[in-house]
Symmetry: C2
Subunit: 210 residues, 2 copies
């Protein structure tokens, strides 16, 4: 999918024909300085199209074999970019939970019981119920939420790569970030954060700015 | 932000101390083969930490100066990954528009008049109005939508880089992709697609898979 610039394409052609060839010789053929070529040669070497062998020159290898984006995405952990979650308790009315959602300007809230994750509720769930004719002042949020174990979660030490794959695969807007606790022999999940499509969009912007 | 592996960090240390140094000499010091080192050296060259000069060896330059992710994101155009938009007309009732939203499983719909963009309406807008006590069967979608010119749009030939920046800056879930038409001397925008945070998450997954 990577799109090379026209100069990068010319460099590939030159190396394909005349390998091994030094950067000085490529520069001479293209009538530019070696310094001008350096970023192009870095991109081509990095993306694996060219191979640089000191004391010999550049070789054409034909196809990318290293994925810098993958390496970078896999090196960032969920806890590095997660947001603060908005949590409510099961007894809260649907109306109050919707108001909380608007006040906090979030699209998903997590429902907890003594800090332990029991449910997730989104704008979509609320909208479905709001037009469904239930009395949103009386019905508690527990009645309309998606319950454990039907919630996709993630741990803080997992990579963003795992998170974005889960978000896409399960078609959700966010994942609760959880820590495992053992209480009376039972595993429970404590909510400590949230990672969403918005975090992913911000990450893309940041990665491009660096 | 890029996190190097421990071997990559060792390579940086070695080059910093003994530059210029050949890949063979680095391999000998680390007791691995040159083939093993090749992906690491590619990443370090690409990210600009090392500079490879054929016939001389590797130099330490200290900091990244090329951004492969930026180059890649800037090379992908909106029309390459945009989705099909869900559009309704201004006269449709809020109730019918919400039903359309659920049937199409989308979070934002665009309101058009003869194909021309006049408004945008999201789950958030609907939810606000649904609990606000309006008669959603009678009120038309035109009453609750965000109107032009308060809508951030994008053109199909713009890059994903521009799109993701607009999404983050304007805090929206999606942008209508539009084409400019001139009708009786007036500029109008025809909706031809949609680009959303979901497209960005899918793109991240794809970029990592390549």
């Amino acid at each position: 999918m990577i799109e090379f610039t026209s100069r990068q394409k010319k460099i590939i052609e030159i190396v394909e024909k005349s390998q091994p060839i030094t950067s000085q010789d490529i520069a001479t053929l293209l009538k530019v300085t070696r310094a001008t070529l350096r970023p192009d040669l870095s991109i081509l070497t990095m993306s694996g199209v060219l191979d640089a062998r000191p004391k010999v020159g550049y070789f054409y290898t034909g196809r990318p074999h290293v994925n810098l984006i993958e390496q970078q995405i896999k090196s960032i952990r969920v806890e590095d970019i997660m947001s603060v979650p908005v949590v409510v308790t099961e007894e809260m009315s649907v109306y109050d939970a919707i108001v909380t959602m608007f006040l906090e300007d979030t699209g998903t809230i997590y429902v907890v019981s003594e800090g332990i994750l029991v449910g997730v509720v989104s704008r979509k769930d609320f909208l479905k119920n709001a037009i469904g004719g239930i009395d949103i002042n009386k019905v508690p949020v527990a009645m309309v939420m998606t319950r454990m174990p039907n919630i996709t979660t993630i741990f803080p030490e997992e990579s963003i790569w795992v998170a974005v794959n889960k978000i896409v695969e399960h078609e959700v807007d966010s994942l609760p970030v959880v820590e495992k606790l053992v209480d009376e022999g039972k595993e429970k999940l404590k909510v400590i954060g949230k990672i969403s499509k918005s975090n992913m969009a911000k990450l893309l912007v940041e990665l491009c700015r660096e």
